[in-house]
Amino acid sequence: MKMSWTKALPILLLTPALAFAQAKGPSDPQIAGIVVAANQIDIDAGKLAKSQSKNKEVQGFAQQMITDHSAVNKQAGALVQKLGVKPEDSDTSKSLKQAAAETTKKLKGLKGEPFDKAYVDNEVAFHQQVLDAIDKVLIPSAQNKELKELITKVRPAIATHLEHAKHLQASLGKK
């Protein structure tokens, strides 16, 4: 089959565009900033849920979020100190923080079951968002080997949290 130049051209144009997209990924200090922000957001949400929820399962889940994300942030803090990397803000970390501030405001106005549902729905969405970011942005963009390893090591915990949050979402939906 004979391929015309017009058909081949779009492929030739696509390659530099992809390379450009990859080069635009977050830097290591920005990745560190995203990791620290994401963990802190979920610790804060967990603390709010522990104080506002009356549901034992929700409280247990919230405590797990506080424990696990605190452990991750402790390790992330130790690594950035060792590497001499100063976590930097980026559009991603800023939008995470802005979304979290809006969620917190909304959650503070709720009580009882509506609070539990809103908190758990948000936890499902948040962990899905973090898992996608880990796979599509953070791991592919991380340049430092130890930073990449840390994020790879965090992934199973995020996946388990997502699974747990989905179970909780299903059980709350039945009530």
């Binding site: 696990d68 452990a71 991750v72 390790q75 840390l150 199973p156 388990t160 699974e163 179970h167």
Partner: protein, 73 residues
């Protein structure tokens, strides 16, 4: 997050050691068999000597979705 392997067959008298290779803390907990490792941070280990034959179902107290079985022959 999971116990690896999720099912382990041992003989009575064997010593089993669990090592936490994860970034978050875990426990080895089986209330019925009075097994409680306490919270284990990364790198910490816990050992238990298998007693009588039987199946012990255990969990991570911090992550109840993590379940495994110790089969003592």
């Amino acid at each position: 997050m999971k116990f690896v392997p999720e099912r382990l067959e041992v003989a009575a008298g064997d010593r089993i050691t669990w090592v936490n290779r994860d970034i978050v803390p875990h426990s080895v907990t089986a209330q019925a068999a009075s097994i409680e490792s306490g919270d284990m941070t990364e790198g910490r280990s816990f050992s238990y000597v298998a007693k009588a034959a039987g199946e012990i179902q255990y969990i991570c107290r911090l992550h109840p979705t993590m379940r495994a079985t110790l089969a003592v022959k």
